[in-house]
């Protein structure tokens, strides 16, 4: 009954998962302002600092000012960070430290419901943070076209993708310390290689061939043109890759979480 196959069976869900999502939302709402400012401050400071500072040395990148180039990358990577943080640290604290999930499972809610709710919540929170960053970017005049609004569903999808990847780590983590490895070995290199701060054309060919498949690269490839008022090229491919990674990662995360908690 507890075989590997049953752990990786498709999820069986109920609408009760909305109550779990709502629980996280209600907690967030209590501290919404500091939370948004926290998610906002770092990327905005980097964007303005690097954008205006380095922008003096780098007059134009791919035909636009450096800060306009940086804006799309900033939106994408800060969404990644917000989703990752929520799935890792907050998720682990609810799963392990606070035993929130255990309490919920005593009600007519399944672990599958909880993990899906956590996925949706982390993506929602990342999306809320992303919208705030988008507003700042727009206020500085770097998202003038209405096409920029199309970036919102893209950042939600980006949030889903990184929340799902993060939940794999959460399912495997023995303690919070474990997450440092994920940031140092995965998230930070991904941020540097995915065309956030400089075009991927600058990378050596071999590195670039790999880097182009990183999920953040696809998010950047979608978000940047939208902020610049252009339709992304190969949008279908980029969306499909993000969705594909989100589904595969979620399936793995769910299986590992079931294995951890239902044994």
């Amino acid at each position: 009954m507890t075989s590997v196959t049953s752990h990786f069976a498709p999820p069986r869900l109920s609408l009760r998962l909305l109550a779990v999502w709502r629980r996280n939302f209600l907690v967030w709402r209590k501290l919404a302002l500091p939370s948004i400012v926290g998610n906002l401050a770092d990327p905005v400071i980097y964007m303005l600092g690097l954008g205006y500072g380095l922008g003096m040395l780098v007059p134009e990148v791919e035909g636009v000012s450096y800060i306009a180039f940086l804006a799309g990358g900033t939106l994408a990577y800060s969404t990644m960070n917000a989703a990752t943080f929520e799935a890792l640290y907050s998720g682990f604290s609810r799963m392990h430290t606070q035993k929130t999930w255990e309490a919920i499972m005593n009600a007519p809610v399944s672990l599958d419901d909880i993990v899906v709710a956590e996925l949706l919540w982390a993506a929602s929170k990342a999306c809320l943070a992303g919208i705030a960053i988008l507003a700042v970017i727009a206020a500085f005049g770097f998202a003038a076209s209405p096409l920029a609004l199309a970036a919102i569903p893209v950042i939600f999808l980006t949030g889903l993708c990184f929340a799902a990847l993060g939940l794999i780590m959460t399912a495997l983590a023995p303690s919070y310390d474990f997450f440092m490895y994920y940031f140092t070995l995965v998230i930070t290199p991904m941020t540097l290689l995915s065309g956030v701060f400089f075009p991927q054309g600058q990378l050596p060919d071999a590195v670039r061939a790999v880097a182009e498949w990183l999920p953040l690269s696809h998010a950047v490839a979608l978000v940047r043109p939208l902020l610049l008022g252009e339709l992304p090229t190969q949008a279908g491919l980029h969306l499909a890759v993000l969705a594909g990674i989100a589904i595969a990662a979620f399936w793995l995360a769910l299986g590992l979480t079931r294995k951890r908690l239902l044994k």
Partner: protein
């Protein structure tokens, strides 16, 4: 319909040669409206049995019906009719007392407008009048436990399952919880609780089971269990007479004066149907002090599960 029926429950952790059988063929059948206590030392398998019953972990063998529904197939529907006080507190530290109840009711699909009016009553039941807006961090251990009890009642359960509800509480808090549990059984709620405390089981339970190492060793009403498993009188002997301690005394004399004698450190526990000859014998040895009392559940528990520490 029995609120919980377990037959032949086996639970193994791990696979292959490392597998450990933690529950080994357990049968249990609750009678509607009763309070049933599951007694057992640390690691006996009490929590594991409850997790299986709730469908939170898959049984390795056996069958379970919770509120008449097969588990794990319909565990989710069954849990809608059950309240649970888990062994470890899992209140939501980000919420106030009232919010904890409201949000938890949400997991049962109960709308806020239905639950909000009941909150003062639920908090009062738990002895937490006026604590609606108190933060969880500001509650004592006993208050948290009582709030957890209130939380377990938001769905008006038919069956209330409590895993060590009073461990770590002061006597006042324990008595309040006992009183509330009696009130619940009086109103018709069936209760299944686990405990290490014999007095708790003796006071609350209509029936109880003593389990150890995954098996039930004795089952019945507290009186039945005592009558069936142990001699009715106990004389505890300690102290020293003419250089001879209680242990040495027991080795020399106990077999002739009582049916059974257990020595633990420097105390001898003599079990007997008639203590008079033993007491007369001890009267000749004033250095050996003794305590004569009726046998209780703890004696049965120690007889069945041994006096060694578990961990």
């Amino acid at each position: 319909m029995s609120p919980l029926e377990i037959s032949g429950l086996v639970k193994r952790f791990g696979e292959g040669p490392d597998a450990r059988e933690v529950v080994r063929g357990l049968d249990l059948q609750l009678i509607p409206g009763e309070c049933f206590a599951l007694l057992g030392p640390n690691g006996a398998g009490k929590t594991t049995t409850l997790r299986c019953a709730l469908g939170l972990t898959a049984a390795s063998a056996g069958s379970i019906r919770l509120c008449g529904l097969p588990v794990p197939e319909r565990a989710r529907d069954a849990r809608a009719r059950v309240g649970v006080v888990p062994q470890l507190d899992s209140l939501d530290p980000d919420f106030t007392c009232a919010e904890n109840l409201l949000v938890f009711a949400g997991y049962f699909g109960l709308p806020e407008r239905e639950v909000r009016p009941r909150i003062p009553e639920l908090l009062a039941f738990a002895g937490l009048e006026g604590k609606e807006n108190a933060r969880i961090q500001s509650l004592s251990g006993g208050m948290k436990r009582r709030l957890t009890l209130a939380r377990a009642l938001v769905n008006r359960p038919e069956l209330l399952i409590l895993d060590e509800p009073t461990t770590g509480l002061d006597p006042q808090a324990r008595h309040l919880i006992w009183e509330r549990l009696r009130r619940l059984t009086a109103e018709g709620t069936t209760i299944l609780l686990t405990t290490h405390f014999m007095d708790e089981a003796e006071r609350l339970a209509n029936r109880l089971a003593i389990m150890d190492a995954g098996r039930i060793l004795a089952q019945g009403s507290p009186r039945e269990v005592i009558a069936a498993h142990i001699e009715p009188q106990v004389v505890e002997i300690f102290g020293e007479w003419q250089g001879e301690g209680a242990a040495a005394w027991a080795a020399a004399h106990a077999h002739a004066l009582c049916q059974r004698c257990e020595v633990s450190g420097e105390t001898a526990f003599c079990y007997t149907t008639d203590a008079a000859p033993l007491l007369a014998h001890l009267a000749q040895r004033p250095g050996l002090r003794s305590l004569h009392r009726p046998a209780n559940l703890e004696d049965v528990f120690l007889k069945l599960t041994g006096r060694d520490l578990r961990d």
